[in-house]
């Protein structure tokens, strides 16, 4: 077939199936500005920043215009610059401009474009609607004074997650993003996944900040503060500290956490190893004894809350295993022998974990929550910066005793398919590199939203599905309920591509996610032991627990919402 070309700003660019001109331009290295466009969401066309001029001087939005062979367009003309500045002025005239005290300061698209277009004045009175923030959620904070109505949050909540907690409300200049009856987000079906905060270009939805409470605990001499760090955190730090995106940096992070004053630093990968033992056992039991099938994984708290809202009929299908964070925290608190008050913190890629930590089910013997505070990756980065720690130059430190051992199987929990792969490694008797490679190629790897694999376990064909993104999960469940497909084991992660793209991580475009996934697999390969059953520490720990204690520390129940 003949190749097709178009000319953008004098540059000839091949058209290769891109869905719009914006994508063609970006491929050619021309960064057309846009607020409302996201390659993973439907085209909305509202911000009008991505406009271009055709040969006749007519203006159109590049996010919705189709590239055509022979087309000649310009994206940087005096008229377009002027119009973009007017868009920015209009948005800023309706925007709370307390930038210096905004959580998105320096990460805000509106700020970035105002600077890029050299905006020196806003010619209209600033009359934003001074509504109070919605701080009702444990996961996110909504601040409508900052909202520019780009609709990314609504499209993410509906198209990617099928949660529908928020939508467009009212119209004209009264339009705003609303929950039902404009009530608090905590009373909505919001699952706390934080994907809305991740896509928000401004400070209208941000991650709930709990760092002050952790600072207080750290500075209290009568409190011992332990911390666990989830697998996906280690590959999301690089860019923020001037290192490479996706580079696994657990060693440096342990150093930094110690420098911040955490008494004990642990790796949640160990929690993941415990989970594999328990979850594999549960699955084997269901399979052998005719338990409720298919079995869904239970690591992801956003998926759990979603199921509690939307699929109460499936609650018995979900593994009773606590998430790795909760299993590990329960064990840590259970094993704590010190005299001081013990506060346990979890550093997570996730905002839903903040909600999970507050669930009634997860209360330690002393009445405290098993996880006292959850910090997102974003918060821990901010704390490290506050303390002035030179992260890039930090030395590598191992995690602390007595929970220093973990396997590669635990590490890969941070990417979609990782839980499943870890289970397969666990059940495989052969732990050779060749055997592990074969498992990796069953189809469980890759960043696709829905993956399938069939493997032989104990002589039986086991049908596996791996989904990330709750809309994908809902679509799969619908198919299962209609009887169109059949599975035995289903891994669900709420965030597309898994925890590497969690709502609490620094924002990751698709290309960043690929790097982060690669980083996790690299960290996995660096481990000598790569199957969870090789974790001697965990094996011994579990062998000492009776059934009752296992139930108390490692399993949970769900409620219909």
């Amino acid at each position: 077939m003949d190749k097709k070309f178009m000319t953008i700003d004098g540059k000839t660019v091949e058209i290769n199936g891109e869905r719009n001109i914006l994508e063609v331009a970006r491929k050619a290295g021309i960064d057309i500005p846009a607020f409302c466009y996201d390659p993973e969401l439907s085209v909305y066309g509202a911000c009008r920043m991505c406009v271009f001029e055709n040969e006749r001087g007519a203006i159109d939005a590049s996010c919705s215009a189709q590239p055509r062979d022979g087309m000649v367009i310009k994206t940087n003309t005096p008229k377009l610059r002027k119009y973009r500045k007017t868009v920015l002025e209009l948005l800023l005239s309706n925007h709370c401009r307390d930038c210096t005290v905004c959580p998105k300061n320096n990460k805000c698209k509106l700020q970035e474009f105002a600077l890029r277009y050299n905006l020196s004045d806003v010619r209209f009175p600033n009359d934003y609607n001074d509504a109070s923030k919605d701080t009702s959620s444990y996961s996110i904070v909504r601040d409508s004074k900052k909202c520019i109505l780009c609709g990314k949050c609504v499209r993410t909540c509906n198209e990617i997650q099928n949660v529908g907690a928020i939508d467009y409300g009212f119209r004209s200049s009264k339009m705003k993003i609303v929950t039902a009856f404009d009530g608090e987000i905590a009373n909505s079906p919001c699952v706390g996944c934080g994907q809305c905060a991740a896509v928000c270009p401004v400070g209208a939805i941000t991650v709930k900040d709990d760092s002050e409470k952790v600072w207080n605990a750290l500075s209290d001499p009568n409190t011992e503060v332990s911390v666990q760090v989830a697998p996906a955190v280690r590959v999301a730090l690089g860019k923020e500290f001037g290192l490479k995106e996706g580079e696994p940096l657990m060693g440096k992070l342990v150093f930094a956490l110690k420098a911040l004053g955490f008494d004990k630093v642990y790796d949640t990968s160990l929690g993941a190893d415990i989970t594999i033992f328990e979850e594999a056992a549960e699955f084997a039991d269901r399979l052998a004894n005719g338990g409720v099938m298919p079995m869904f994984t239970s690591c992801c708290p956003a998926w759990i809350k979603h199921a509690e809202h939307k699929h109460p009929e499936l609650l018995n299908n979900i593994s009773t295993c606590r998430s790795p964070m909760q299993m590990f925290a329960s064990v840590i608190k259970h094993e704590y022998k010190g005299d001081k008050k013990h506060v346990h913190v979890a550093v997570m890629p996730c905002t839903a974990k903040k909600f999970e930590a507050k669930r009634d089910e997860f209360t330690a013997k002393d009445g405290s929550k098993t996880v006292d505070y959850v910090l997102s990756t974003q918060e821990i980065i901010a704390m490290i910066k506050t303390a002035g720690i030179n992260f890039a130059e930090a030395e590598n430190c191992p995690p602390d005793n007595p929970f220093e051992e973990f396997t590669g199987g635990g590490v890969i929990f941070g990417v979609t398919g990782g839980v499943t792969e870890a289970v397969l490694r666990f059940v495989s008797k052969d732990k050779s590199d060749k055997a592990l490679k074969e498992i990796a190629y069953t189809g469980v790897r890759g960043l696709k939203g829905v993956k399938e694999a069939t493997v032989k376990i104990a002589g039986k064909d086991v049908r596996i599905a791996v989904v990330s993104g709750l809309a994908n999960a809902d679509a799969l469940i619908e198919k299962i309920e209609k009887g169109e497909v059949k599975y035995d084991f289903i891994e669900v992660m709420a965030c597309p591509t898994g925890c590497i793209n969690g709502g609490g991580q620094p924002r990751a475009e698709l290309k960043d996610r690929i790097l982060r996934a690669d980083g996790l697999y690299k960290a996995d390969e660096a481990e000598v032991k790569r199957a969870s059953d090789e974790n001697v520490l965990v094996k011994e720990m579990l062998s000492k627990m009776d059934k009752h204690l296992k139930h108390e520390l490692l399993h949970t129940t769900y409620i219909k919402r």
Binding site: R48, V51, A61, S64
Partner: protein, 627 residues
């Protein structure tokens, strides 16, 4: 249910005989204007009087046996709303205007029984009495084709529609033509969409017909939301079958078997009439499955609007039918490819569909003979504002504004001077004296920065302030903006704020330039057609009436003596008796004085509310706009 063309033709013949047998018809206009002035009471009164006087009359068409008596009926809008309530006598064609209940007896006596015209009720102008409707100047310059049935038939009767040639076009489309031939006929006729930009209907149909998709839709836009427009309402209420016939033909031509009519909820009568018409058409067999035994099917659904002007935009309208917020989406994909429920969709407005049967019946050539080269056929307009003969009119495309306003509209009301006419509602622009000889057609209007829009013509006299008119439309557009794209949502808000300041006497140097800048920005940058045209009224009033803007801004003066905040209220010392009533009523204590001496208003405190004017028993307080 009719199973064949022959059965329909036989029925038509019987019905026509029945109509021809009627000796005389008293047709009472039951359009919205006449009804609001008491037409229904007049209709009832006629019945009572004729019963009393034992006149042989009937209220419905008498099929078998035919009645040779008098037929009393309600028809749709006659258009001459200003002169309502209207009563027409047929076959003589006499038109009685401003009829009151008290007049009914005389009409029955003299006209029905005596066969004579009641001249005092006929329309007269400059001492000339016009007995026959067709001689009345309001009607004489019109070409009523689309509206031809409105003042004749009882819209709740499919039989009357059939009798007068209704559904003959459908017959032709079903049995004498191929789908391609239908599309070709529409294309050749040059019919352009009557709802907005004037896109050729034939082109649209052929694009949908070319789509290879099993499911397609025909959608009629009856969301006539322009303030000052009521043409589509009249067609939907008064001749619903004409529009429905057009839709069925569109379905046959394009391969769609489902249609939707989106009607404003503010038109409850139109909704009721359309529902009834659909029921009748289905029962008769001209709609539904296997129409007249042809094997072709077409079903119609009605969706009521819920109050959003933006739903007049195609993609917002389809979103609304789908149960969603009426927010326009980006294009492509276009409606002809991915329209309603993501399927290929023919979307035309009421008047466009109402023209279809005409084209199929008479042929493209005859249709093209009316109107101009590039704008064929007629156009209906709602003529309102400060004009003598407000009402609903239909003229050939290309008729001049002068003819419409002065010949048909009878010129300005109360002898005032013509100033401007707003065409195309909030999406259009204003035309001034210099445009009086401009032909009203798609291309001529586009050249002067206006659009035909849906056809609202609001006539304004010297006492209409053009800045206030622009402000009014901007207020409307801002309120009706869907809120999606930044230029329309935020831009119209800023323009409105500036216009509000100007009419309140707080205009500043640079306001006109800012309005122009924002206006061009919104036109170029908005997502949908409504946003792109939102600044039209402001830009065109600045173009033609810049001096008025300047007077408001720099002299704090409203040349039209209309802007309330720019007037001064003064007490005439000659007339003031010093009673203090005004001072006691003033809500801001701006008036002071000594009892039995002259009172005075502190202009710096006065909020121009006018309370004192009403309070003064001596007429001593006066408004003025001259500083």
């Amino acid at each position: 249910m009719l199973k064949s063309r022959e059965q329909l033709q036989a029925l038509r013949e019987t019905l026509l005989k029945a109509i021809n047998a009627e000796k005389q018809r008293i047709i009472v206009c039951a359009g919205a204007g006449c009804v609001s002035k008491g037409a229904l009471k007049i209709y009832k009164k006629f019945g009572e009087i004729m019963s009393e006087k034992k006149v042989n009359f009937s209220l419905e068409l008498q099929k078998e046996p035919h009645s040779d008596g008098v037929r009393l009926k309600e028809s749709g809008c006659h258009g001459f709303c200003e002169a309502g309530p209207l009563v027409r006598i047929e076959p003589q064609g006499w038109l009685y205007v401003k009829v009151k209940e008290e007049d009914c007896e005389e009409i029955v006596e003299k006209t029905v029984i005596g066969g004579k015209c009641v001249d005092r009720l006929a329309y007269s102008e400059n001492g000339v009495i016009y007995r026959e409707q067709k001689e009345v100047p309001f009607y004489k310059s019109q070409t009523r084709i689309v509206l031809s049935n409105c003042d004749k038939i009882d819209a709740s009767s499919i039989e009357e529609y059939v009798a007068l040639g209704g559904y003959t076009a459908l017959e032709k489309a079903l049995f004498d033509m191929t789908a391609d031939e239908i599309v070709k006929e529409i294309t050749d006729s040059g019919l352009r969409g009557r709802g907005g930009g004037g896109f050729p209907a034939g082109k649209k149909w052929s694009q949908v017909a070319a789509q290879k998709c099993a499911e397609k839709f025909v959608v009629c836009n009856g969301d006539e939301g322009d303030p000052g427009a009521f043409m589509d309402r009249s067609v939907m209420e008064d001749d619903p079958h004409r529009m429905i016939e057009g839709m069925i033909i569109a379905g046959i031509a394009c391969g769609a078997s489902q249609g939707y009519i989106y009607v404003r909820a503010e038109y409850p009568k139109a909704v009721a009439r359309l529902n009834l018409a659909i029921k009748q058409a289905t029962e008769l067999g001209v709609m539904g499955d296997d129409i007249l035994g042809s094997g072709k099917s077409f079903h119609l659904h009605i969706n009521k609007g819920a109050g959003a002007f933006v739903c007049g935009e195609g993609s917002a309208l389809t979103a609304s039918i789908e149960g969603k917020r009426g927010m326009p989406r980006t294009k492509p994909p276009r409606t002809v490819e991915h329209g309603l429920f993501d399927k290929p969709t023919v979307l035309n407005n009421v008047e466009t569909f109402a023209n279809v049967s005409l084209i199929i019946n008479e042929g493209a050539a005859k249709f093209k003979a009316v109107g101009t080269e590039n704008s064929s056929g007629t156009k209906t307009f709602a003529l309102t504002g400060n004009i003598k003969n407000a009402g609903l009119i239909e003229v050939p495309m290309g008729t001049t504004l002068r003819k419409v306003i002065f010949d048909i509209g009878g010129g300005m009301r109360d002898g005032k001077k013509f100033k401007a006419v707003q065409i195309g509602g909030p999406s259009g622009g204003c035309l001034t004296e210099e445009h009086l000889d401009l032909p009203l057609d798609f291309d001529s209007l586009k050249k002067v920065g206006a659009i035909i829009g849906s056809g609202g013509l609001v006539v304004m006299d010297e006492h209409t302030c053009m800045v206030e008119v622009a402000r009014f439309f901007m207020n409307f557009t801002q309120h009706e903006s869907c809120g999606k794209c930044v230029p329309c949502r935020e831009g119209t808000k800023r323009m409105l704020a500036i216009l509000n300041r100007i009419v309140e006497g707080r205009g500043e140097d640079g306001d006109i330039e800012m309005l122009e800048e924002l206006g061009k920005f919104i036109s170029d940058m908005s997502l949908c057609g409504l946003g792109k045209t939102a600044a039209g009224p402001v830009l065109s009033t600045i173009k033609y009436f810049k001096d008025e803007y300047k007077a408001h801004i720099y002299d704090k003066h409203c040349p039209a003596n209309a802007c309330q905040k720019l007037k001064t209220i003064k007490i005439d010392p000659e007339l003031c008796k010093g009673c203090s009533k005004c001072a006691r009523h003033c809500p801001v204590l701006a008036i002071s004085g000594e009892i039995k001496k002259t009172f005075a208003i502190d202009q710096s405190k006065c909020i121009k509310c006018g309370t004192c004017l009403d309070a003064c028993p001596f007429g001593a307080i006066k408004e003025s706009w001259n500083g």
